[in-house]
């Protein structure tokens, strides 16, 4: 194939590809357009069906209304006169038949569910349809109209049924039925499509199956194709009912789009069937195919035209280009051959040079003037331990850096300064860390023109030579030193150990002169054992010499002997012998050095003794000890208990690393090394060999042995101790929970008589996990509200430990049991009984007691009875005046409890009034100032503080709510005492930095403000929306908005749910019944909603957050009310809800909104 053909073929290929893309795009656009039309038809079908159903509904409701407006019909039906009814209704029946061919039946039903008259079958009546016709049953139950599709004996019908009244009395129902086919036929008429109806099999009854013979069964669906049976029989096998999107089916007769449309809903709005629509798209398919055919032909014509143009117009130009190209290629080939020849020559030269360069014994490298290594030889690469490619083309100082780098001594710099030959000793540190010495010879690297291109460096390794020279120098120095300074005995002897020389120091060692020593036999010099040992050694040295076995490393041998002093004392010595042999290997002379090692032996014995002692301690001590090098974590030594703690054998431990068991922080090691002091770390976590963690107390110390520093790590197992402490902690929390269970949470409000309510605010802040202060407020609301009572008990138990809590639990259990005792006791009798029971129990030691204030308030008379059992007096705030009770000397001051058994307790009495406020507290409040201010507050001090707070609030008298008074009092005293006291709030733990628990209970009698009551009678939800809007404006845009504005969202949400609940479930949407809404805002914002319904069981509300209730469409209203308020109380058997919101802000995160569930109703059981 020539170039011309190739070029044309390439251009044609591009044109062909582009044409294909455009063709594909065109076809896709056509398809998309067609599909959108089909989807549009489907949507129109759906809309049309809904419209047709609506129209049918309206028409037949009107028709029934017309029939029922005919008095003759209603009267005949009321008289149960079937013939008269038939005659009166017949004209209507005939008119309907004529009007609509799909009109099926008209049917009158009795309230009992029995058929009264079928206009289409007048002779069939009296049959019980209660169970067969739920639609009619519903009309009979609700007396209201119903409509929807229903599966009958003869197919699917759209039915409209309405109640019939005679003079306001319900007398039965009348219904009209129309065949579902009506809608199908109307759609077919309007949209030119074919429609079938389908119903799931499981909805069909036996009569339907028996009488409806036009049905096709497919995919558990019963399909009525109406007049298109043969068409749908062919289409249905290809249609998937599971996929409701349009599906294309092609059969012999043509192509169709099938889709489901319309929801045929029964009277409960449940879908029981749908229409299956077949849209003939054969024409569109033919049109589509024609479009594709035309597009392909047009494209082919375009391609052919392009080919002709290319062949005749571009042929000459392409020939010219090909000719030029051939000339150019010939020239390139010529130059390439020349270059190849030159390259081969250069390659040979280079190989030769490389061989020389690489076989050189010295390391060589060539460096360019830019300090880049151009080339290195193999020896150099070996010296550096790097591959050649890692060294070449890299900066010269990157590897093999030396002392001259970056200085004027750099060989390249010197060569560039025109030095011709440089020789210098250099020391280089290799990558392995080893230091080696080299003789570096450097010469210029020049171009053939003489220009300096760099430097050639030759490195000769002279490390060994240097080492030898250094060792020689050191050896000479050492020997000279020994000769001059040694105090050791130096002697020489012949091969038979006869002395030939003895140095003067023999006198110091043995007490003899050198001459005397030389004259002695061996047995006089040494003990018998020593003589044998030295003789054996000399014999051995003689044998070695004869057999040519030289001492491999040291030319000398050492031996420990005992020499005999002149005073007969045995002196331990170390003798170092150097044998001198003649040329034949015969031992001729012995040079000996004898050293007194008495001190060393003593030290060794002492050390051994210490070591034994230490080993015994280490073996028996119940603390793990391991020793490591200060610079390495490898374990050098460990005691058996360490191995036991780590859970592995001692052998394994000694092979391991301390990091296998714990990671010491570097700072601890540095601190221990620097300070030389022991470092202790509490609560350190150690990992055993089994991977378990163990709590230890770790000590870290250093030890210096023979100039080396070791790290001694000891660890004491404290896991048992921890477990005990944790157990204790658990017990405290459990005790706290039990306490809450017994005493319940304090309700914010309690209804009193005569439009009053009692408000209670309790603050209890323990200084430990749980304290000795405990309290309860129990409201007893009776059927007869006038007999109701409230009991308040605040106790201060000595101590803070678990036992103290247990005693508190026991006390309050007894106290509550006495309160709930059916036998009603007076306050005095109850306290006496409690005291006697406690004294009789064995839970209280002599020094275990508590102070308490016990109070009883009559809900009707407002008489307050109180007993103080050694407790600080409580405060009464009335019209701005503050009094303390009981007064000093009052009989209401009694002994603490349990102090003495059978002691009488006397109560005081107070008549309370509307607006009175009380503050009860424990001594922790008064003693808070002791720690930092050095004194305790008196009751008078406290009264003054409270008075100042009331006056500073700008509200003279008692108008500052008690909840704010107790909070401000606590804040004032804790601030002046320099303590932090924060009560537990919405899941945030309490803080108390003082020395004792602090408790305050504030009580106030609030009159109910009835002026803030609204009522309305809603007719529909619009009335509720309007009421809500008015309420919001009234409450939150005025003065109240300043104090309670932050509650607006929560209050409005809760109000909406409460009002809707009252309207829907309470009043059953009865337009005659009213809803009452009342609000007040003193201590809390209180909202009350009352309805006029039958009430309900408010204690049995389902939880909408349970899995089985989550998708339920109702049942969330009261959950939202509980969730977004602080307290909910029901009254009047569920017709009256009282909801309170605390005034202070709370954090609106989800966690804190999860309030405690109500406690177990222990005392109501």
């Amino acid at each position: 194939m020539n170039e011309k053909v190739k070029s044309i073929a390439a251009i044609m290929l591009i044109i062909f590809t582009l044409s294909g893309i455009f063709l594909h795009w065109g076809v896709r656009m056509y398809q998309k357009n067609r599909d959108s039309k089909i989807i549009e038809t489907a949507a129109r079908t759906d809309m049309l069906i809904d419209e047709l159903i609506n129209i049918t509904n309206i028409i037949y409701e009107i028709r029934i209304d017309n029939i029922l407006n005919d008095e003759r019909v209603v009267e005949a039906f009321n008289a149960r006169d079937r013939d008269r009814l038939f005659r009166a209704t017949l004209p209507w029946h005939i008119a309907l038949k004529n009007e609509n061919p799909f009109y099926s039946n008209m049917h009158f039903h009795l309230p009992t569910g029995r058929s009264f008259l079928r206009m289409h079958q007048p002779k069939l009546f009296g049959d019980d349809l209660k169970n067969l016709r739920p639609m009619i049953t519903k009309v009979n139950e609700t007396h209201g109209p119903v409509r929807g599709y229903e599966i009958g004996k003869h197919g699917l019908f759209y039915r409209v049924a309405k109640p019939v009244f005679f003079k306001g009395t319900y007398i039965g129902a009348v219904e009209i039925g129309i065949q579902a086919e009506e809608v199908a036929k109307n759609i077919e008429r309007v949209l030119n499509i074919q429609v079938a109806r389908y119903i799931p099999d499981y909805l069909l009854n036996d009569e339907f199956r028996q009488f409806c013979t036009n049905e096709i069964q497919q995919n558990q669906m019963s399909i009525n194709p109406y007049t298109h049976k043969s068409l749908f029989e062919k289409l249905l096998p290809a249609y998937g009912f599971h996929n409701r999107s349009p599906q294309r089916v092609v059969i012999k007769e043509g192509a169709y789009i099938l889709y489901s449309s319309g929801h045929l809903k029964d009277f409960n709005h449940e879908t029981i069937g749908q229409f299956l629509t077949a849209q003939d798209i054969s024409k569109e398919m033919i049109s589509y195919k024609a479009f594709v055919k035309h597009a392909v032909i047009l494209t082919l014509i375009l391609i052919l035209g392009a080919f002709v143009v290319l062949h005749f117009s571009f042929g000459a130009m392409i020939n010219k280009i090909i000719e030029l190209n051939q000339t150019l290629e010939a020239k390139v080939k010529e130059r390439t051959d020349e270059l190849k020849s030159a390259t081969v020559k250069l390659l040979y030269t280079n190989i030769e040079l490389n061989q020389i360069f690489n076989t050189a014994a010295d390391g060589m490298r060539v460096i360019g003037i830019d300090y880049t290594v151009i080339r290195v030889n193999d020896t150099f690469a070996k010296m550096t331990g790097k591959a050649r490619q890692d060294l070449e083309n890299r900066p010269c100082h990157e590897w093999f850096k030396g002392a001259f780098c970056f200085t004027q001594g750099c060989t390249l710099k010197r060569i560039l300064n025109l030095e011709e030959h440089i020789e210098v000793d250099v020391v280089k540190q290799l990558d392995t860390g080893e230091t080696r010495s080299f003789l570096l010879t450097a010469t210029p690297y020049k171009s053939p023109e003489g220009q300096i291109l760099g430097v050639v460096e030759n490195f000769k390794d002279i490390t060994e030579r240097k080492k030898v020279a250094l060792a020689l120098s050191k050896s000479e120095k050492r020997y000279r030193f020994i000769a001059e300074k040694t105090a050791d005995l130096i002697w020489t002897a012949d091969a038979d150990l006869n002395s030939t020389y003895v140095s003067p120091s023999v006198h110091k060692l043995r007490g003899y002169t050198p001459e005397e020593d030389m004259a002695q036999f061996l047995e006089q010099k040494y003990t018998r054992e020593s003589v044998t040992r030295i003789q054996d050694l000399v014999n051995d040295l003689g044998v070695r010499g004869r057999e040519g076995i030289k001492l491999s490393k040291a030319p000398s041998v050492s031996i420990l002997l005992e020499t005999i002093h002149k005073n007969n004392a045995l002196v331990p010595i170390e003798v170092t012998l150097t044998p001198i042999y003649n040329d034949k290997g015969e031992l001729v002379t012995l040079h000996g050095v004898s050293r007194d090692i008495t001190d060393r032996k003593k030290a060794y014995d002492a050390l051994k003794e210490n070591e034994d002692y230490l080993k015994t301690i280490m073996a028996t001590v119940q603390t793990g000890v391991i020793v490591t090098d200060s610079k390495s974590p490898l374990i050098i030594d460990a005691n058996p208990y360490a191995a036991k703690l780590m859970g592995c054998p001692m052998e394994d431990l000694l092979k391991g690393s301390s990091r296998d068991y714990f990671n010491l922080e570097k700072s601890w090691i540095q601190k221990a090394l620097a300070s030389r002091k022991k470092i202790e770390v509490e609560d350190y976590e150690l990992r055993t060999a089994q991977g378990e963690s163990l709590k230890v107390r770790l000590s870290l110390a250093t030890a210096n042995v023979r100039g080396k520093t070791y790290l001694v790590q000891s660890f004491l197992d404290i896991s048992d101790m921890k477990r005990l402490l944790e157990k204790q902690e658990v017990d405290i929390h459990m005790a706290k929970n039990i306490m809450t269970l017994i005493n319940k949470e304090v309700p914010r409000y309690c209804e009193l008589t005569d439009h009053r309510r009692l408000f209670t605010e309790a603050i209890c802040v323990p200084c430990n996990a749980e304290g000795g202060d405990h309290y309860f407020v129990q409201h007893f609301v009776m059927e007869d509200a006038r007999t109701g009572k409230t009991f308040v008990s605040l106790k201060d138990q000595s101590g803070h430990e678990v036992n103290c809590i247990l005693r508190s639990i026991f006390t309050d259990l007894l106290h509550n049991a006495a309160l709930y005792n059916p036998q009603i006791l007076t306050l005095e009798a109850m306290v006496e009984k409690l005291n006697n029971e406690l004294c009789a129990s064995k839970f209280f030691n002599e020094d275990d007691f508590f102070t308490a204030i016990h109070v009883e308030l009559d809900h009707h008379t407002l008489v307050l009875k109180y007993i103080s059992a050694g407790h600080p007096p409580f405060l009464l705030i009335r019209e701005g005046k503050i009094s303390a009770y009981p007064e000093p000397g009052s009989p209401a001051n009694n002994l603490p409890m349990p102090f003495l058994s059978n002691v009488s307790y006397t109560a005081g009495k107070l008549q309370l009034h509307d607006g009175d406020q009380l503050i009860f507290y424990t001594d922790g409040l008064l003693e808070m100032t002791l720690k930092h201010l050095g004194h305790v507050l008196t009751t008078d001090d406290l009264s003054c503080i409270v008075r100042d707070i009331i006056q500073a609030s700008g509200h003279p008298g008692h108008s500052l709510p008690i909840s704010q008074i107790v909070q401000k009092t606590l804040d004032h005293i804790s601030l002046s005492a320099g303590e932090t006291i924060v009560p537990e709030s919405y899941g945030i733990k309490s803080v108390n930095t003082s020395l004792d628990d602090v408790s305050l209970i504030g009580v106030e009698i609030e009159p109910v403000d009835r002026s803030r009551e609204r009522h309305f009678t809603p007719k529909d939800s619009g009335d509720i929306t309007r009421f809500m809007s008015d309420f919001q404006v009234e409450v939150f845009t005025g003065e109240l908005g300043k104090d309670f504005g932050h509650l607006e969202k929560r209050v409005m949400m809760v109000l909406e749910e409460s009002v809707i609940n009252a309207w829907k479930h309470g009043n059953q949407k009865d337009p005659e019944k009213s809803i009452f809404v009342r609000y007040s805002c003193r201590n809390d914002f209180v909202l009350e909603v009352m309805d006029q319904g039958k009430g309900f069981d408010f204690q049995d509300l389902p939880d909408p957050t349970l899995a089985e209730n989550i998708t339920r469409v109702s049942g969330r209203g009261l959950f939202i009310v509980h969730h977004f308020s602080d307290h909910v109380q029901w009254m009047d058997e569920g017709r009256h809800i009282i909801i309170s919101f605390k005034k202070r802000k709370r954090r609106d995160d989800r966690k804190n909104l999860n309030k405690k569930k109500d406690q177990i109703r222990l005392w109501q059981c």
Binding site: I1060, I1110, T1111, I1120, R1150
Partner: protein
């Protein structure tokens, strides 16, 4: 309360403005009823401008959810204000709807 609806093939997007109180819930229910739900596989509610929703409104969303879920469809609620988002979480509605905060 106002609702605008954008439908695209098998998905639908509701943009709601205002408070979904009892009255709003009724409007919502009527709007849902007028829709052909069988083909819907993705339903999205834009709550960017919803300042409040009560239990009635939530009930209607769940009613709609039942229809859509029958066809394996999903309902997502987007741009939910923090207070309403907390309410939905409290009622554990994240197990039913795909929720995303504003």
């Amino acid at each position: 309360m106002e609702i605008s609806v954008e439908k695209k093939e098998n998905s639908i997007r509701f943009t709601i403005v205002g408070e979904v109180d009892e009255q709003g819930a009724t409007v919502l229910k009527e709007r849902f009823r007028s829709l052909y739900t069988a083909s819907l596989t993705k339903v999205t509610f834009d709550f960017k401008n919803v300042t409040h929703i009560g239990s009635a409104g939530i009930g209607k969303l769940l009613l709609f959810y039942k229809d859509v879920a029958m066809n394996n469809g999903t309902i997502g609620i987007e741009h939910i204000a923090p207070g309403i988002y907390e309410l939905f979480l409290t009622l554990k509605l994240e197990t039913v709807f795909l929720l995303s905060k504003s």
